[in-house]
Structure formats: structure tokens, C-alpha cells
Symmetry: D2
Subunit: 110 residues, 4 copies
């Protein structure tokens, strides 16, 4: 599947081009992008708003609902990449380092 | 930089292992993960809560603030990957398709 | 104006009746209501997503935009009242006590 | 209980004074307040992040957890009142009108 060969850098370039073609750099300040990310995260939550916690797993058996939620997740990731670009950081390195920190905070049992 | 060689699949494996080592699969329902993603997105917003829109770009000149915001962004991405895993979708393919849809909705000028 | 004479208890009754008439008590668990409140808060943010901080004050000179944002704020308050009802607490007393706590945390200058 | 006698206007005055004593009016633009409201809503969600939907109702039997969640709800309401003040609207009238609109959208059964 594409996730096996797509690098973070490639996805970042998709966003850079999308933003440049629309001259949206002026809107893409860190404050606006963090706000936009939170807005999309809320739209993603809407798909599970009134469901039970376990009931929400049944989405995997419903292709239409799964596709709709996937699109919201994609919008969240799009803004996460746009913010990565705006901040000029390395996302995978930042993630790896934060997960190492989280691993200390929440030690694996056994 | 690592983003040039790290694939989405690799980052997904980091999350799969982190979750498995802690036996957190039972908590990682789509509803809980969407909620967690929104919580982390809000923590990211806090870094820019009282700043002006343009002022928020100055974070790039302050390594300590940049690192702190990067860590929150990493937590957002961690939950986005965990939800990708829980939904069993291909993230880069879903993102590519959604961006194609957004490109129609917001045509590039010129 | 109505705010001068409307008590918190009256607004709470509005919500209690609205929920009872639709038999929505079963959906109104604290978890679902907190999630719903966050979703409405994000819809409120959308009205100011790409504006500058000072620019967002111009909404007061645009009756149509003001009415639209007001409706989102009302939805936020509706869920805040529903959660107050679900938790069975006194909202004005809780607010007064929390503001006293905040006043210690952020002392007034001079 | 205080909710029976406290009007919306009284709570709005609490906020007006709190903000004035700290000269925070300059920070209280609609954009910043909507963002702050969303941040506090996320902090409220954290109290129910990993719980089941029905399980979250058990908070009512745990005074310490109830008080902690109540404080987060109070922070949400504080920002909702601050935004009401910034927008210069009547909150109870706006809520009443929006609930009438919601009642049409979601008709009561039977």
C-alpha cells in the first residue's frame, strides 16, 4: 500500500505545492494553523459524537462511514503537515523523540 | 533529514508497537482517539493563545518555544497515526485523495 | 435586556425540557456532552479562523456575521447548561468559586 | 441554590470586572476568546478521555472528580461570558432564539 513507500517529506511537498499554488502562505501562520487543526479535529469527533466507545469500532464494517471519517482525518493530517512546514521542523524526528519521552512517562508493563 | 527517508508505514509501526507494549488497544477505539486528537490539538493552540497572527511566526526564532510547540504537534500526529491504525486505512492514499478533492473545491488562481 | 432578568436556573429549565421532550437523556452522559461542547466551540472558532486578532473585532459592525457567531455561542452555552444539568451542580456558585481561584492565580495589578 | 437567583447579567458583570481589573480587554478579541473557549472545552474533555460513555456518569458519585470537572466547566462558561461581553449581545435572548430554531430542526417526538 502507498504508506509503505510514501515518505513524510513527500507528503510535506504535496502541502507546500498546494499552499503555494493558492498563495496561502500569508494565512498559514502557526496560530491560524493550530486553530485550523483543532477545527478539523472537532469535525472528526462529530463522526463519533453520540456513539458508545465500543460501538465506534463498528465504523470499520461500514465503508461509507469509514471513508467519511478518513476524509476528516486527512484534513487533520494536512494541517499538521502545513504546520510542520510553517515551523520548519523535521516531523518524524520530532515524533520519534516525543515518543521516547512518552515511553519514559508511561513505562511498558512487564 | 529523517523526513526524507521515513515512510508513513514506519511511523505507523512505531505507534503499533508503543500501543501493544502497553496493551492500550482496548482504549484505542475511534471515539476515544478522535477525542484525544482534539485534546492534543487544543494543547498545541495554547502555545499561540494570546499572540497576534503574525506575531505567532516569531516562534521560529525561539528554539525553546519551537521545541515545546513541536512536541505538542508530535502528540497530535501520534494520535492521528493511532487512529489510522485503528481504522485500518492507508493514510497517504487517503490524504492524496482528499487533497485532490480540496483542489477542486479551492481552485488554484492563475 | 433579557439578560437582566433571566436566571441561570431558568435557562437550565429550558435545556431540561428540550432534552426531555426528545428523550435525549440517554445520550447526555458527561463524556458525550463534553465532546459536544468541544465540537460547538470549534464551530464558533471557524467564524474567526483566517482573521487577524484585531480584525476579528470588526464582527461587531456586521450584523449578519454577528448573528451567525452568536448562534454558535448559543450552542456552546446550551451544551454547557446540559452538562451542568447532567452533573447536578450549581453553575453560578461553581463559576464564582473558580473566578475567586483564578483571581489568586492572576492577581490584579495595582 | 444560587442558580435560582443569579441572572446572566450578574455573571457578565463578574467577568467585566475581572477583565477590567487586569486590563485584559486588549487580549479579549473574538478570535482569542473563541480559541480560549475551545482550549477550556478540551481540558473538560480530558476528565472523560478514556472512560466509557455510561461510565462517565459515575463522576456524580465521586465528589473530588465532580469538583475538578466542575472547575473546567466554569472556565468554559467564563470564556463564553467574556465573548458575550466582547460581542455585546444578549446571551439569554440569543440562546432562546437558537433553541427555538433547534426545536424546528429536531422536532420533539409524539
Amino acid at each position: 500500500m502507498p504508506d509503505n513507500t510514501t515518505t513524510v517529506a513527500e507528503m510535506r511537498v504535496w502541502m507546500t505545492q498546494f499552499v503555494a499554488e493558492r498563495q496561502w502562505e500569508k494565512f498559514h501562520s502557526p496560530k491560524n494553523l493550530a486553530m485550523s487543526l483543532a477545527i478539523e479535529a472537532a469535525e472528526l469527533m462529530e463522526h463519533f459524537q453520540w456513539e458508545g466507545v465500543e460501538e465506534s469500532r463498528t465504523i470499520m464494517r461500514d465503508p461509507a462511514r469509514l471513508a467519511a471519517a478518513g476524509e476528516e482525518l486527512a484534513d487533520v493530517v494536512a494541517y499538521a503537515l502545513a504546520l510542520t512546514n510553517a515551523l520548519g521542523i523535521d516531523l518524524s524526528e520530532t515524533l520519534r523523540a516525543k515518543m521516547a519521552k512518552n515511553a519514559v512517562k508511561y513505562p511498558a508493563s512487564g
